[in-house]
């Protein structure tokens, strides 16, 4: 049980570290809940309008916007920056 928890927790942390918030504009209704909940005031909603991932280095990848979006617009997607370097 503990091992399972540990594995899922470490997977989650890896996702947060390596991921960038990526919108699916076809689901967004511009309600602004994502922007409202961003602790560093990134206008995530504008990213959802333009379809551009949040690539700003200030993004904490805390996941608040992803979790609070009531319509499943946002998800973490692996970014080039966070990928392990090739030898």
């Amino acid at each position: 049980m503990f091992k399972k928890w540990f594995t899922s927790e470490s997977t989650r942390r890896a996702a947060l570290f390596e991921g960038q918030v990526t919108p699916d504009s076809s689901r967004c209704v511009q309600c602004g809940i994502c922007t409202y909940n961003c602790p560093i005031a990134i206008d995530v909603r504008r990213h959802a309008w333009t379809g551009q991932p949040v690539t700003r280095s200030e993004c904490l990848t805390c996941g608040d916007c992803v979790q609070r979006c009531p319509r499943g617009v946002l998800r973490f997607e692996r970014s080039e920056l966070g990928s392990p370097r090739k030898a």
């Binding site: 699916d24 209704v29 499943g72």
Partner: protein
């Protein structure tokens, strides 16, 4: 220099303005904002009512954004379209604006409740920003509210008022919630959750009269004769396209304004998009109404493209909405329901007529009180899906249905009694991703 005039300030008009500007830097773009609040997220009104977000957040564009886009805003009502002169009359004739291309994106409005007393102070709808403000001012903790109607908006009203600590009664004409879209078991899941929130349901009932107390709402009398004392009544019995301007100008209308694949009406140079437009659905061969934000945006984009003189054609996509029903996140995709809904006179907001066009075919479903999944299966493809609770399959199913993906490799397994359809689908999706990862 082409003069583009857009009537309406919803997402269809804003998307058209953006698209025109991308294609023509010199064009004159004027937008008539008929709603005094301008451009805001109408679906977001529910989240303001529930207290999840504040009102200020619902405005995606600032005045600067419109300036940067080079859009001139007029806060006025368009009262007449004069196609022969290519003019639009504002506020009953005080001003006229000339156009070369005109977009009608006037949206839809709530159908009024037609019972004695419905004009009393304390009767509300949730159709505009002003409606939301008035309702929030009236929603006092510990007081009682009656909600009547169907679809997503009626639930948003019931849940929103419950979140504001009101004692909520939900009066339904039918035997269950949203029978045109949901299966009976799904309606029951929603109703059980509503009851757990403390909302009292009154099935097979109808508000016959709004009762006054010192000139304001004091209660309602139901058809059965039962009376419910309350401080406010909120209704959501459907919406209707605001097509009067177009009808009076001789533009061809059915329930909404009929448009072709370029979003043009029968009058050259006049276009329509969004909730007011009735568009051709290739999958069903019918002209249908939707009230969905992404569809309205896409239609606005196509209208803008056509107005700027660029080629293109709007192909109606499979309608999808992700919404919350009694706190349960629910994705509705494609053709999932059929049948009559006594609580709605037409579609509601966040709704699509296509969802009600489920063919006589096989269904596979699984799930319990919280996580529920239902698939409507055609011979080769999935035609519709409803995902309630766990949303991990929501996005894959949107793609499987929209593309559409040939599901014959898993169809027989999906139809086996007691089949673990979520697992079968997840494995199928993972295999698809592995074989063609770029299509994800």
């Amino acid at each position: 220099m082409t003069r583009h005039l857009l009537i309406g300030s919803g997402v269809a008009a804003v998307a058209a303005a953006e698209t025109i500007r991308k294609m023509d830097e010199q064009a004159v773009i004027e937008l008539i904002a008929q709603d005094p609040a301008g451009y805001y997220s109408r679906p977001g009104l529910a989240y303001v009512l529930s207290g999840e977000v504040n009102e200020k957040m619902l405005f995606p564009f600032s005045a600067d954004d419109f300036r940067r886009l080079g859009v001139r805003l007029h806060s006025a009502r368009a009262t007449r379209i004069l196609p022969a002169q290519k003019m639009v009359e504002l506020d009953g004739g005080s001003t006229r604006l000339a156009y070369d291309r005109l977009l009608i994106a006037t949206g839809a409005r709530a159908i009024r409740l037609n019972v004695p007393g419905a004009d009393l102070e304390g009767v509300f709808k949730l159709d505009t920003m002003e409606d939301a403000r008035r309702l929030i001012r009236a929603a006092r903790p510990g007081r009682s509210a009656v909600v009547t109607g169907g679809g997503i908006t009626a639930l948003e009203l019931a849940e929103g008022l419950a979140a504001r600590q009101m004692n909520v009664h939900y009066v339904l004409r039918g035997e269950r919630y949203w029978p045109g879209v949901l299966e009976e078991s799904e309606s029951r899941i929603v109703e059980n959750h509503l009851q757990r929130m403390g909302i009292r349901l009154h099935h097979k009932q109808e508000v016959a009269e709004v009762l006054a107390n010192r000139g304001k709402v004091g209660g309602v009398r139901l058809k059965s004769g039962e009376q419910i004392p309350c401080d406010l009544l909120a209704f959501a019995i459907g919406i209707e396209p605001q097509a009067e301007l177009a009808r009076e100008a001789g533009i061809q209308c059915d329930r909404g304004i009929l448009v072709d694949a370029q979003m043009q009406t029968n009058l050259p140079g006049i276009y329509a998009a969004g909730d007011v437009a009735q568009v051709y659905d290739e999958t069903t061969g019918q002209y249908v109404l939707d009230s969905l934000w992404p569809e309205a945006r896409e239609q606005g984009r196509m209208a803008g493209r056509s107005m700027a003189g660029k080629a293109g054609a709007y192909h109606k996509t499979i309608p999808i909405n992700v919404t919350r029903l009694a706190g349960l996140t629910t994705t509705i995709i494609g053709r999932v329901g059929k049948g009559h809904d006594a609580d709605l006179l037409q579609i509601a907001r966040g709704d699509s007529e296509t969802w009600r066009q489920m063919p006589d075919t096989l269904m596979a479903q699984t799930g319990f009180e919280v996580n529920h999944l239902r698939l409507v299966l055609g011979a080769d493809h999935i035609l519709g899906a409803l995902v309630m609770g766990d949303q991990r399959l929501s996005s894959p199913l949107q793609k499987i249905i929209s593309r559409p993906v040939d599901i014959r490799p898993i169809r027989a397994r999906l139809l086996e009694p007691g089949a673990p359809i979520a697992d079968i689908l997840a494995d199928f999706w993972n295999e698809l991703q592995t074989s063609s990862p770029t299509e994800g």
